[in-house]
């Protein structure tokens, strides 16, 4: 493999990784604070993709408007799901919450079929990023380069939000000890609500960003959720930079898997996750939990 081909594949892997990071980071945030494994994250992602299709292709708005609409749309949906239903299950076993999110998957994927039908749609690259850019050593699609930039920006923004603001301190405290926080007069319900909404909005934004680089079909939710689990588990459940690392590992394994073991690339991420789970069950950057 020449250096150029290697670099080209590395860039494609990076673009995939960064798109996946945006989606998986939302799942990770929700797990970190609420301790809920949100199976519905995949269907939120799918709604994000369908929303940008409707807003940009059918209503003719610009790409940034579409991305915002997808994020906002999912925030609203998530708000009502959390307020009306999920909230009633916080005291229950993990299994109940997990199955609840699975019920949301079933309901929302059918809703998507009712709203958008079952045709395959394409969104296409936004007008500003239709071409390719010559980086000197390789030619690379502009839009994918844009994704490579967006991922780190979102990562840093989330890190600042969680690590450097008062709200972030409250969120972190909520992951540690919710009773203590409530005793201190913080509205823990509010924190949960906000985290669920933010995490779900990231799924919507991730779906909107993914839409131009693939095609939209019913069933796109069932594969992405597995891939998000892989990323979050590799990195360490609830760990922001862990997810970033997990996304990078996922992107490169898929891309270079296609080069070196073509046709088995779909199985490699699962092997990677198993290896990590067997050696460090709490993930690359996670910490073993007490009472496990």
């Amino acid at each position: 493999m020449t250096l150029t081909v290697f670099a080209l594949n590395a860039l494609y892997g990076l673009a995939l990784a960064m798109n996946m990071f945006v989606i998986a980071s939302g799942l990770n945030l929700i797990f970190g604070v609420l301790r809920v494994i949100n199976f519905a994250h995949g269907v939120f992602y799918m709604f994000g993709a369908y929303l940008i299709y409707t807003v940009t292709k059918l209503w003719g708005f610009s790409f940034p408007v579409g991305v915002l609409a997808a994020g906002l749309g999912l925030a609203i949906i998530a708000f009502f799901i959390e307020r009306l239903l999920l909230r009633r299950l916080y005291g229950q076993e993990h299994l109940m919450q997990l199955l609840f999110t699975f019920a949301i998957v079933l309901l929302m994927s059918d809703a998507a079929k009712m709203l958008w039908g079952t045709d395959q749609y394409t969104v296409g690259y936004p007008p500003a990023f239709t071409g390719a850019v010559n980086l000197g050593f390789v030619v690379f699609p502009q839009y994918l380069l844009f994704l490579c930039v967006v991922g780190p920006i979102i990562a840093i923004a989330m890190w600042l939000l969680v690590d450097r603001t008062r709200w972030g301190r409250v969120v972190r405290a909520a992951t540690q000890d919710r009773e203590m926080l409530a005793a201190l007069g913080v509205n823990v319900q509010m924190v949960y609500s906000a985290v669920f909404v933010l995490g779900s909005a990231l799924a919507g934004i991730g779906g909107a960003l993914a839409a131009p680089r693939l095609a939209l079909t019913p069933g796109m939710d069932a594969t992405i959720i597995n891939e998000c689990f892989i990323i979050v588990i590799i990195g360490g459940l609830g760990h922001l930079w862990g997810s970033f690392l997990g996304a990078l590992a996922f992107g490169f394994v898929v891309q270079f898997g296609t080069v070196w073991v073509p046709n088995w690339q779909d199985v490699l991420p699962y092997l990677l996750m198993l290896t990590v789970l067997l050696i460090r069950p709490w993930g690359l950057l996670g910490r073993p939990e007490a009472g496990r």
Binding site: T2, A15, Y143, P218
Partner: protein
Amino acid sequence: MRAGWSLVAAMALAAGGALAQGEPIRIGAMYPLTGGGAIYGVPAMAGHQLAIEEINAKGGVLGRKLESVERDDKMNPSAASATMKELITKDNVHIVLGGLSSAVGLGMSEVAKQEKMVYIATVPKTIQMTSDKLHKHVFRIASNTDLEGDTLAELVSKYKVKNICHLQLDYAYGHDLEAGFLKALPKYAPGSKVVLTLKPKLGATDFNAFIPQVMSAGCDGVVSGLWGPHFVSWVQQAKPLGFFDKIKWISGGEIASHEVAVSLKDEYPDNVISNTYELWYHSQDPMHKTFQAALAKKLGTQETPQWSMLGYNGVLFAAAAIEKAKSLDPDKIAEALEGLTVHTPVGPLTIDAKTHQSNTGQFWGPMVKQPGKDYRVMSPVEFIQPKL
């Protein structure tokens, strides 16, 4: 001789009498009506319905009306097998038509074998159905992967492609088309070789991991079986890199059909040579004009999709076979189908008595721009019909 005829008549009466006179003949039809395959399954079902309406308007078959029992095959072999079993045991159909993906076709053929029910495959192309997995009750009026692979190899030679990148979907159709092509390649183009083989999965929408491999493999042409939506996604994702400026795309999978041309419009790349069963703008048989006009009326568009004709032909064969068998007994229908010739919108087609494969031809040619049209058209059109 006369005794023989009266015996046949008596048997026909007995068979007919078992089911009350005038009760409709139930034709089961399964196509993908939801999901990725629906773009083709829905038009195929429309063609199926059109044929049933036309036959019923002329008085039906054996004096009985045809009743269409329609089901979604979900393009999933597991669900399709269960659905077909239900069609037979619960809905008591007399024959089953359809299927779209090759995997579904194989599953349906297996149920047909078990339940001894005639199944006419209208779209699935895997050669297995009419070779190692052939049985008494399965017939095919689609083309097949050996015929398609043969033509692909011929085109590789015609367009002088030396280094081939081979793209096939990872399921029965892709694997069998690959085998059919590789079998024929030395015959037509002994100097050409395959430098890269990639197999994305059926239903894939993200080809970004594959595109750089093909770009850097040093091939001057792609031989492909990426059909419909797969091809559309590939085009959109590969276009920024100027993929099609450098590489010729020789493809099976009917991407020269009008549906694909319209879904890509101006984005449809140059350098594509492919096939289609039918072109609404091209009539080679007088029957095509009337068929196309009726279909256009039914669908409310002048520019009709190609898949309808396959659904339509399926019903024509089923009706002709029942008429010839004068019976609804699956074994008799199967015998009637062997060697049966039916006049279709692309001319007369015959089902071979041994292989159960019809001599269905396809239109092949390059897709070009034409002034005043916002979609690509095939020109020149060449009809390649196999001799069986």
